[in-house]
């Protein structure tokens, strides 16, 4: 799975952050975990086309009225894309968002799963 870079005009839009991800591979699927704190669960989009997976999450507005004393992060949406070389069964891609983490499961297509080859004994 290779990361693909956003087009310049997309990156120049309002604040968008690149979520940190962990990726795992099991026998049956690829699993991706992305840190996306504060995202509205109804505003998460996954797009998969020709081997490119694009994930976006819109942050839920949070009221921060008052005198700001410390600010170590900005609010903004999350977006990141990956090029996936493995064959994926796009109809069975699943995602869940829990505790600010998006988990995406990308099942491998049947053709690329390991198959046991019977060896004939002569």
């Amino acid at each position: 799975m290779t990361e693909t870079m956003p087009k310049p005009n997309e990156a120049a839009r309002k604040k968008t952050f690149t979520p940190r991800v962990d990726i795992y591979e099991t026998e049956h699927d690829l699993l991706l975990f992305a840190d996306m704190p504060g995202v509205d669960p109804n505003e998460i989009e996954l797009h998969y086309e020709r081997g490119e997976l694009r994930l976006t999450g819109k942050v839920k507005p949070r009221s921060q009225v008052g005198h700001l004393v410390l600010s170590e992060y900005d609010l903004g949406d999350f977006q990141r894309s990956f090029q996936i070389r493995e064959l994926i069964d796009a109809t069975r891609i699943e995602a869940e968002y829990k505790n600010g983490v998006l988990k995406i499961s990308l099942p491998k297509a049947e053709a690329v799963k390991p198959k046991r080859v019977a060896v004939k004994v002569q």
Binding site: M5, R20, L31
Partner: protein
Amino acid sequence: MFGNRWAPLGQSVWNELQQLQHEVNRAFDHWNETGSLPGLAVFPPMRVWEVEHDVFVEAELPGVQLDQLEIFVTGQSLLTLKGERHLPELGKAVQLRQERGVGKFSRSLTLPTQVDDGRVEAKLENGVLTLRLPKHEGAKPRRINVKAM
């Protein structure tokens, strides 16, 4: 190479992960790191703001559950957040990329005013912790009446 989001206490685990990261980077050196990930030195990153009667603290804690988090207020003005984030249990999975921090964290912060530590409210939603800390009576602004001379 990704920046460590926090310094974990379990150093041996961390060393193993860094070793793994090194191996992954070597195996997949065509992966183009953009450096667009914020290289945060502290975890969790926080925001603190103040209104007339309360101090609000917000912290980004994705993947941390309420039962993995401890919140302390010491001496009415020192706030401490302690917790741990675990790797998912996936059996025989091979890790291809690791950017998210893992392990124990602890962070203390001096609040801008003294607070009433008995009336603190906490909410953890979508990986964002929000604390409302009512100001201590003595720390609230008091209106001074000015007599016209």
